[in-house]
Symmetry: C2
Subunit: 203 residues, 2 copies
């Protein structure tokens, strides 16, 4: 709140990184003396902050947090997923997952049944109640994304997807690409997202 005064907050530190045009482009002949793209760094911070805030508000009404959202989302998107897969996608520990998953199961948002071939597995899927909440949360995020892209051409949307994909660690891209195309038959023939994302690097 309160009108914030950001005027007169100018950097007193020019010359930190040699000459730059202020946009991160090189001005010298060869070496990369550019300053960091602060605009993008900060845009990503603010964009993600707001991207998560809508769902957070809804989740709070259920006494859930962002952790529940992530679990609910990936279970809803990948019915039959097992605990090990969730751990690797979310990159958290079994204990951390266990707590939120238990709540989601206890409160009937997620149900589980043993794997048919391997009875050690817990195959997870959302209940109707869970699916409904997942859709509500996804719709909020969808609304924001659609609004942000409403004036974009298909090509421009593809550029955005490509950008986000390339922000992911190269090591993880194959796994992510698999997740993304998991219900899109048209992408089956593109195992590592190479075509999808016009990937021509890091190989």
């Amino acid at each position: 709140m309160a009108d914030v005064n950001f005027n007169r907050l100018h950097s007193e530190r020019a010359g930190d990184l040699l000459a730059s045009d202020g946009n991160g482009k090189k001005t010298g002949p060869d070496a990369d003396h550019s300053s960091p793209p602060y605009d993008l760094i900060e845009l990503l911070f603010f964009a993600y902050r707001d991207f998560t805030s809508d769902p957070d508000d809804v989740l709070a009404q259920f006494d859930f947090g962002r952790a529940h959202h992530r679990v609910l989302h990936f279970v809803d998107r990948n019915p039959g997923i097992m605990v090990t897969d969730l751990l690797s996608v979310l990159r958290i520990t079994k204990q951390s997952l266990g707590r939120v998953l238990k709540q989601l199961v206890d409160e009937d948002f997620i149900e589980q049944k043993p794997g048919e071939n391997d009875r050690r597995q817990r195959r997870l899927k959302t209940t109707e109640k869970g699916h409904s909440l997942a859709m509500r949360l996804a719709s909020l995020q969808a609304g924001r994304l659609n609004q942000a892209m409403k004036n974009m051409s298909e090509d421009e949307k593809a550029v955005t997807r490509k950008f986000l994909f390339h922000m992911i660690n190269p090591d993880s891209r194959v796994e992510v690409a698999k997740l993304l195309r998991s219900d899109d038959p048209a992408l089956k023939a593109d195992p590592d997202g190479t075509q999808l994302f016009n990937d021509q690097e890091t190989r």
Copy 2:
């Protein structure tokens, strides 16, 4: 670790949201029956996860967390910023900020002096040590961003910036635009980022 098996995890819930081409495009004549753009939702999640992971590793060596990073970043970028401004940018409480800011001041990453006109204010700026760490962290994020954009034209980069800007709550865009252009004289004449981001909506 362990090879994860995402095959055979196909949605068993077709027909939830009427017909869709699987890409979030409308297939009907007018109403928006499209399903959420799950690919973008998940790409944003993974992109941000990895975007923050590099700095996290460095911060851990100093016994700092992501909260310290945010404070350090915005102080470094806005020398002379005061506590109230930080609170509004970071959207956290005074108590939360107080703790991490105290550590950063105690360990000589940030210094403070009273405002010249208003002696209640603490004008914050990074020390050499603090600036050095801030630059190190920014370079990590810059490296990832530059790599993600290395094959992009200037137009495509502009599209990406525009996308991120439009993901921000309309209410916050003016404030963010002010922050972004804070040391870029070329943008001074564009108070709410309208030109910069080719903004033609929400007015």
